[in-house]
């Protein structure tokens, strides 16, 4: 047997074997008492498995994970015990994590034989290099000794694009729990934080978007509609339903179908990061102006998505923004950004130049300004005509 070669080479002499058996008996006696320290359980093993000298995995010994190796020589390759035997809770939460969905196994991040309590951020940086680089230069990294795992639980992590504002804020609130008091300068801080995350302001280089989604109204507030409820409500998976073309209209139509079946369904929205930059230490005091967000200049107006829950992950569907302008009239009750739905000079010029009239949905709430503007303009013109006629007849 090929694998038996090295073992045979170091096969113990009879007297030594007796000693080993004695040691093994002693070890097996102590194991249930939890006294099987790494060294204690490995002494014999390390004579053959020299590569594992210095190995450490908490208080476990070799045989805790390789019980089939108690007899020497072993037969064939010994399969280790699965990690969940000891780490049941962690493995259970990991099963639903984004890392698991990406196909990562325990050993991709953990060297089980040389497990160290604190491995710093190197493990994460192996895959998330650019995030680690940005974070390393940030105030968080410089002022504290923060590790990636201080904010992120790698065993339960979910893709940030699937997180709502509350879940995103909770990441920061672990340390900055008094964030509402710190933002007392902001009108209605609790209301704002229902629609924003910390990084909306504290990470200028992160890309932000207005993200729309289906939600259900309940006494506890609005809750995002999960995939299974969406499928139950629609009757089938609506994935692929939204195609090229006027997606805003298609989503509006889908909403109307769903809203007929569930009166508590609304389209809700939030302003969140859709491409993060791991510098969250910025404190742009000069941006503490309402118009930083509540004006047409706010950058996130240029990036809007509808998040459709999917079987595996949520689908981000890019929007033109007319969903914001028209459909939430009966859907979104609180999300309200000034200026976007206001008439612009260009709209008036387009009208005067007889450019093709856009549909009511393209105009959205602008029709109010549109009619208001022309009402006053026509009134002014009529008055001017009246004045001219009065002067002409000298009355």
């Amino acid at each position: 047997m090929e694998g038996a070669g090295p073992l045979r080479k170091i096969a113990p002499a009879p007297y030594a074997l007796s000693l080993r058996l004695l040691a093994a008996a002693l070890m097996l006696t102590l194991l249930p008492l939890g006294a099987a320290k790494a060294a204690g359980g490995a002494e014999g093993c390390l004579e053959c498995h020299e590569a594992y000298v210095g190995a450490r995995h908490g208080n476990t010994g070799c045989l805790d994970c390789h019980p089939g190796s108690a007899s020497v020589p072993h037969e064939g390759k010994q399969q280790p015990q699965p990690c969940r035997r000891c780490h049941e809770g962690t493995v259970a939460s990991y099963a639903g994590s984004g890392h698991k969905k990406s196909g990562l196994a325990c050993r991709d991040c953990h060297n089980v034989h040389f497990l160290q309590k604190d491995k710093g951020n190197r493990v994460c940086a192996g895959c998330h290099g650019s995030a680690y680089e940005a974070f390393s230069a940030s105030l968080h990294a410089k002022k504290g000794s923060l590790r990636c795992t201080d904010c992120h639980d790698p065993h339960a992590i979910r893709p940030y694009r699937e997180l709502g504002t509350k879940e995103r804020i909770n990441v920061c609130a672990g340390c900055h729990g008094d964030y509402l008091n710190k933002h007392a300068w902001l009108p209605y801080p609790a209301l704002h934080f229902g629609y924003l995350e910390c990084a909306t302001c504290h990470s200028r280089r992160s890309e932000k978007s207005i993200v729309f989604f289906f939600a259900r109204k309940s006494p506890e507030g609005k809750v995002r509609l999960p995939y299974d409820q969406l499928v139950r409500l629609y009757g089938t998976d609506p994935a692929g339903l939204i195609r090229e073309g006027s997606r805003d209209d298609q989503i509006g139509r889908l909403f109307r179908v769903l809203a007929r079946r569930d009166k508590n369904l609304v389209i809700d929205a939030s302003v969140v990061v859709t491409k993060p930059f791991h510098e969250y230490s910025e404190n742009p005091v000069e941006e503490r102006r309402c118009v930083a967000c509540h004006s047409g200049r706010a950058r996130f107006y240029g990036s809007m998505f509808f998040v459709l829950p999917g079987k595996g992950s949520a689908e981000y569907i890019p929007l033109k923004g007319t969903l914001l302008a028209s459909y939430p009239i009966a859907a979104s009750t609180d999300f309200f950004l000034l200026s976007k739905n206001k008439l612009k000079r260009k709209d008036i010029i387009d009208f005067l130049l007889l450019k093709p009239l856009r549909t009511d949905r393209d105009i959205g709430f602008k029709w109010i300004d549109f009619i208001g503007f022309w009402l006053i303009a026509i009134t002014g013109a009529a008055i001017c005509c009246h004045i001219v006629l009065r002067l002409t007849v000298r009355r």
Binding site: F336, S339, D369, G372, R390, R395
Partner: protein
């Protein structure tokens, strides 16, 4: 001689004029934030304070108009008002240029011709209450959250408030011009200062 416009009405009229003009200007800043007429935060504060001043003024007008009987006298709709709408419109469109006499001349007892009455009823008894109620709801959106949700949310509230504001703006333009159509261009404006 009994004044055409009592003192309380003249004081309220000019105070209300200033308030409404400033409300429209600050409201423009709130709606069209790129205009930069005022700093946004100041515009919010001024708009809110003036809004409550307008409410106080409206309540003052309502009580005074009820007490001196002018609400029933001037705002009460009669059958002849309805039939007179077309005559008054014809007068403004044609008669005024031909030197015809006003079919409904202004007197202390009958201040409003049918068209004016329609305009004033719309403004004072419809659009002012609408703009006041929506403005009060806007003044504390957390306190009035349930009521706002009931009428369809902030966007609907904003739409109703803004529609009422456009009507006010249009009314002011027409009202200011109509004030110049007296015996002389300034005679009606003078009346609103002196009362006679």
């Amino acid at each position: 001689m009994k004044p055409l416009h009592p003192l309380w009405l003249r004081i309220w009229h000019w105070a209300n004029t200033v308030i409404i003009v400033l409300l429209i200007v600050t409201g423009l800043e709130l709606g069209f934030t790129d205009l930069h007429i005022f700093p946004f935060q100041k515009a919010v504060l001024i708009h809110k304070v003036l809004g409550f001043a307008m409410i106080a003024g409206f309540l003052f007008w309502l009580v005074a108009a009820v007490l001196d009987g002018s609400l029933a006298r001037c705002y009460g709709v009669r059958r002849r008002d309805l039939s007179g709408l077309a005559r008054q419109a014809r007068y403004y469109a044609l008669g005024t240029f031909k030197g015809e006499t006003d079919p409904f001349p202004t007197t202390a007892g009958e201040k409003f011709n049918p068209l004016k009455k329609l305009a004033y009823i719309s403004i004072q008894l419809v659009f002012t209450p609408v703009v006041i109620v929506t403005g009060v709801l806007f003044s504390d959106i957390l306190l009035f959250r349930q009521a706002i949700g009931f009428i369809g949310g902030l966007r609907v509230l904003d739409a109703v408030h803004v529609i009422a504001a456009y009507v006010f703006a249009d009314f002011i333009v027409i009202h200011a011009y109509m004030a110049t159509t007296g015996k002389t261009p300034l005679s009606r404006i003078r009346e609103m200062f002196t009362g006679i």
